[in-house]
């Protein structure tokens, strides 16, 4: 067992699960989507991205790309949240909540691809 692989897999899966946790619930209901969870998703995704740095294989490159997509989507979601709550002071209206959650939905899709790739790589390794 390679401890590096454990940590790698752990963060990639954690990025997906946390993302899913934030995403589930009614799309436009702010009660169902807690900001702490969004914070955790952003941090874990950042760590997962950095962990994917410096891998020269094709698989590594695609994994890094998916992570970059996820981080981009999550940054957009965090920005929408910051603008709505602090700058324009509109607060978390259903419309704003819906857009934040759908952005993280996109990030989740990228994370799903990431995990699928990880699983495929593992299966290939078994052979």
């Amino acid at each position: 067992m390679n401890p590096e692989k454990v940590i790698f897999g752990f963060f990639i899966v954690l990025a997906l699960t946390l993302n899913f946790g934030f995403f589930v619930g009614e799309l436009d209901n702010p009660e169902h989507h807690h900001v702490y969870e969004l914070f955790a998703v952003v941090v874990v995704n950042l760590i997962a991205t950095v962990l994917k740095f410096g891998d020269r294989t094709q698989m590594g490159a695609v994994l890094l790309a998916t992570s970059l997509v996820a981080v981009l989507q999550l940054f957009a979601a965090a920005l929408v949240w910051a603008v709505a709550v602090h700058i324009s002071e509109t607060g978390l209206t259903p419309a704003v909540t819906a857009s934040i959650v759908s952005l993280t939905g996109g990030a989740m899709l990228a994370n799903v691809i990431s995990v699928v790739l990880l699983v495929i790589e593992t299966v290939m390794l078994r052979r």
């Binding site: 900001v35 702490y36 760590i47 950095v50 962990l51 740095f53 410096g54 020269r56 910051a82 709550v85």
Partner: protein, 574 residues
Amino acid sequence: MDNIVFLIFRRMRTPLITIVVAYSVAVLGLVLIPGRDALGNVWYMDFFHAFYFVSFMSTTIGFGEIPYEFSDAQRLWVIVCVYATVVAWIYSIGTLISLLQDPTFQQAVNEGRFARRIDRLREGFYLVCGYGETGSALIEALTERDQHAVVIDIDQQRIHLLQMENLRQYVPGLCADASRPLHMIEAGLKHPRCAGVVALTNVNEVNLHIAITSKLLHPELKVICRADSADIEANMASFGTDYIIDPFDTFAVHVATAMQAPCVYLLQQWLTGLSHARLPEPLYPPKDGHWVLCGYGRFGKALFERLIDEGLETVIVEADPDRTGAPEHCVVGPGTEAVTLQQAHIEDAVGLVAGTDDDVNNLSIIMTARELNPKLFVILRQNLQTNDPIAEAVDADMVMHPSSIIANRIRVLLATPLLAEFLQLALYEDDEWARLLISRIVGLVSEEVPHIWEVEIDERLAHAVVVALELGQTVHLSDLLTDPRERTRELPTIALMLTRPGHRTLMPDETTRLAKGDRLLFCGRYSAQSRMEWSLQNEIALTYIRTGGSAPQGALWRRLYKRWLRGRNAGTVS
């Protein structure tokens, strides 16, 4: 280049993760710890403000406590955060800087830069392996003739020297082991513009390695190698190395040529001299007496064979006859003492060869011998270039300096290949032929060695001639030898050789009709080459030389004139 990016990313993983973690813990702490606003109500910092605060706290420490003054609990947490984030930053920046200074990283950057530079080369170049004495002399000679070169050397110090050198062309240099094929490829071995590989390292095996690598990876390449031993030489020749140069043998041939045909030797010296060098004096190695040869090493052996072939009686002086395998009747001794030289009958000798591998001993031999017999013809073997001043001061008749001999030979081969062919053919001519040519050259140039240049009759180098030939006109060799400013005068130049596919003519006749694809070798004054360029490239100048008049200049007249010419030629053919 890819390597470098990946290297940075891989090494930066831990520092970056440290920063992410430190930031997120600090932000989370600030969000969770309760504070009080201006009215004393409990408030919680939100993520937006927490991230804002942590961002400037970790980099600048102290913008004030916003949006409300902090509670003591918050301050306690901020103290922890300040140290944690600042340390994380220092750690990351430190890693990045040490990465930039890392020798592996530096090497990767240099190699990447070098490889890109080679890729961008758009002109033919020679790959020179080894930038020692020979290499630097060769590079200087090549750049002097506007040829391009790339250098590989294993010693970083020498690459620095190359960069300091004030050369006319930019010469990229890489510090790497040339016996590793990867580095040869980086230096452009497979580059379509690579014209040849020159292996000049001081290790025979490395030269062999370079030769075989080049022949396998780029078979049509010209490969020139230095070899100091017969085994290696035979090995190199076995897989088709184009030129193998043994400095000792080359010099021994020079001595033999000078004895058999002094004028041919002088001609060689004049034509291969460095540009602007003074004309060397003729040499007449004496043959009416015996020679003393000190040092029976690689050099001594090569020279001994030639002297014996010339029918000269030669006495060998050798300090260690068993190790070097000297003949039994040799004089045992270092040769630096009068006693040993007297045993070799230096008083009656006509020539002396100071051929040991130690410069100081060689000079000492010459000084001692001259005291005993001032009229000696002296051949000095100089091993190190740094001894130039003392070697010059001793004023030997011939100096054998391995590096310059190899460099000179390779320079002729690479820079003026036609001249190399010419000299090869000249060896078959008799001394009288060479004497005539020498007297003609003296008539052209008074003090400096003649300038040598090659001309190929093709669209690029001889536009006017090609155009004239395509119009069916005849251009004679004498047309090129005419001054384009005044057609009754001749240029100060001599046509040495004319080559056509499968056919070579020494000293071609002036009435020779030129054809497309001809290659010509000229020697003469510097000014003659630029004048000749006019006749080669400028249609008006060539027409003037050929007819004495000028062809129509305007577009309409020129077309009519060409049509008229064609019509006339067609008429004469039918």
